[in-house]
């Protein structure tokens, strides 16, 4: 690993270190650190895990253990420009959530979890997004798309950058 190109920038390291005073242990900064890297790189490659571990005075395996528990962080390649989660849990499923997910997947030409060929969209299923009053719903980046219809799905796909 000594020869590997370093991934964490000074800005990321500074952002991670800013979390240190919040917790009595360094290990507690694991999730914030993973989010900081993921927000910027859209994934957390193994080399980043090694560098986070170094900062947090942990073994890389400890960081990797935590990371791999949460299905949230990708490690093979960055997600698309927009990462969208379509809810498939019961309240959304009752109002067409699964059909919405299928429709979006068909239109974008992907399976849940995959990124479209143009790299604009990573589409995933979600378990309950906690917006059952707006079922079926989708969280795209920081935007909650409510009461989805086919038209709204089309608009969403057209709006992607």
């Amino acid at each position: 690993m000594a020869t590997a190109q370093r991934i964490l920038t000074d800005e990321m390291i500074k952002a991670i270190k800013a979390y240190f005073p919040r917790y009595p242990t360094r290990q507690a900064v694991t999730l914030p650190a993973l989010h900081i890297v993921n927000d910027r790189l859209r994934y957390v490659p193994l080399q980043a895990v090694v560098e986070i571990a170094e900062l947090l005075e942990l073994h890389p395996a400890e960081v990797q253990d935590t990371l791999s528990f949460y299905g949230f962080f990708k490690q093979d390649k960055p997600h698309g420009n927009t990462r969208a989660w379509v809810c498939r849990s019961i309240a959304c499923a009752l109002r067409g959530g699964e059909e919405t997910l299928e429709y979006l997947c068909d239109k974008a030409g992907v399976e849940p979890g995959q990124t479209s060929a143009d790299g604009r969209l990573t589409l995933e299923f979600a378990e309950c997004l906690g917006a059952c009053d707006f079922a079926p719903c989708m969280l795209a980046g920081k935007t909650l798309h409510k009461d989805l219809t086919r038209e709204k799905c089309d608009d969403f796909l057209r709006s992607l950058e």
Binding site: P24, T66, Y70, L94, G113, C128, G130
Partner: protein, 476 residues
């Protein structure tokens, strides 16, 4: 009447006729927790203070001793709103007396139970109410640090809570020497990473420490040894909000709402106060509604939700998040308080999130959705849960693929009866949540499952030989 779900709570038997206690206390009601949400700018400190915010804080911090605050909360009968319904004040008293500290407060905002979104409404539209409740709870428990464990899927809640916290630091409600007293408090937001199990209190603690969210064996309970091996209280967002109003208006006011405890049953802690009910699924007006504990599911659906959509009839409903099981339409008159759902074989009130299923819904589809959720969210620590949830999903997959056998129904029930903390085979209650939809769906709709299996697998429904496993379908 025998209570199946709360044998430890009500002693297994209801002594006093229920309707006599519930009476008409539920009829007229002004919102408490949701009083501000329609006001423009409700998430800002200015609006919150104009509407009476931080009055409770000034009333408590300084003039009242921490133990006084705990006493008021204890005498209000407030029970935790996160799902288990444990008396909040009592939980606080489990902290070791005279502990040198630090004591930690963890606020559980990892709301992930399917159907539940009341905490999201509070955090997005009235975050200062949340923060005030957290400050008061920390004052009562002498906690100097509070972590709000917020699920990742709530970006707006994150923004608004952070804004509220920043405003509080700026106005001296947080930080060192709050309101000139020797009470100091820091509140930090900690974001999760999309894992349902982080809503389990010890799973949350493990996750906060930077580890995989594997629930801990209790004891030691968090009050004795929690996060960073220090005494810890874990409270829900809505619970914290209730604390604000209890301090502001008093324990008697809080006790004037809801269903009083059964005087003949010393183990019944009652169901006091307002509650946020989440209503979704096949209703005309889904939403978060506030009512005193004890309205019936039918009242909620008809009076608040505008009835079942498309002029259809309801077939069933989830009473408090999917983990709690199912009401049949005939059971809709059951009150949604801490004891009600247990009377019809459900696990409990849970998060009071009601999801209505209309007459067109196949219970096989419902159960498949439920089993898929729990198979996906089981943390994998306890074998009965990890294997039981995955096995039940594989069976439902097979039934839906037209290869079901009548024998599968009993096998599903057997799994349902053997996973969880109630049969005593797992560390946390996730598996009980997985088991209850299975048990309720099959016991209450068995005919439909039999009919489905006979119709979709006419040549094989009666076969009882072992079947070769289907290829495992990718659900991830």
């Amino acid at each position: 009447m025998v209570c199946f779900a709360h044998p430890t709570n009500c002693g297994g038997v209801f002594h006093t006729p229920y309707e006599e206690r519930r009476n008409d206390r539920v009829a007229k009601f002004d919102p408490v927790l949701l009083a501000n949400i329609d006001v423009p700018g409700s998430y800002t400190r200015d609006v919150y203070e104009l509407r009476g915010g931080y009055r409770a804080l000034r009333k408590a911090i300084g003039p009242m001793q921490p133990t006084d605050v705990t006493e008021v909360v204890k005498s209000s009968g407030l029970r935790g709103r996160g799902g288990a319904g444990f008396p909040t004040g009592l939980k606080w008293t489990f902290l070791p007396k005279g502990h040198p500290g630090p004591i930690y407060m963890c606020i559980n905002a990892d709301e992930s139970e399917p159907g539940t979104f009341n905490n999201r409404i509070l955090m997005e539209l009235d975050p200062h109410q949340v923060i005030e409740g957290v400050i008061l709870s920390c004052y009562a428990t002498r906690a100097a640090t509070a972590y709000i464990y917020l699920r990742y899927e709530y970006p707006l809640s994150y923004e608004r809570l952070q804004l509220a916290i920043d405003e509080c630091y700026a106005s001296g409600y947080l930080g060192k020497n709050i309101l000139g007293t020797d009470f100091s408090l820091d509140i930090y937001l900690h974001r999760g990473a999309a894992a349902y199990i982080c809503g389990e209190e010890t799973g949350l603690i493990e996750s906060l420490e930077g580890k995989r969210a594997w629930p801990r064996i209790k004891p030691p309970f968090p009050a004795v040894e929690g996060v960073f091996r220090k005494p810890t209280v874990v409270n829900n967002i809505e619970t914290a909000c209730c604390v604000t109003h209890i301090i502001d208006r008093g324990a008697d006011w809080f006790k004037s709402m809801g269903v009083p405890a059964d005087p003949n049953n010393p183990r019944d802690a009652g169901s006091y106060g307002p509650k946020l009910y989440c209503l979704s699924g096949h209703v005309n007006r889904p939403g978060c509604y506030e009512a005193p504990l004890g309205i019936t599911l039918r009242q909620l659906v008809d009076e608040y939700g505008g009835g079942v959509w498309k002029g259809r009839r309801a077939k069933a409903a989830i009473p408090g998040g999917i983990s709690m099981g199912l009401f049949t339409e005939a059971e809709f008159d059951t009150p949604l308080d801490f004891n009600g759902p247990g009377r019809v074989g459900c696990l409990g009130l849970g998060t009071a999130a009601v999801v209505v299923l209309d007459e067109t819904v196949s219970m096989v589809d419902f159960l498949h959705n439920s089993c898929r959720f729990f198979a996906h969210e089981s943390c994998g620590q306890c074998t009965p849960c990890r294997e039981g949830t995955a096995w039940s999903l594989r069976m439902l997959d097979r039934i839906k693929a037209g290869k079901g056998r009548l024998k599968d129904i009993d096998l599903l029930l057997e799994i349902g009866d053997s996973i969880g903390i109630i049969p005593g085979t797992t560390i946390c209650g996730l598996a009980d949540g997985a088991a209850w939809p299975i048990k309720n769906a099959i016991r209450k709709f068995r005919g439909e499952f039999e009919e489905y299996i006979r119709a979709t697998n006419p040549s094989g429904y009666a076969v009882t030989d072992a079947v070769p496993a289907l290829p495992v379908l990718a659900h991830h």
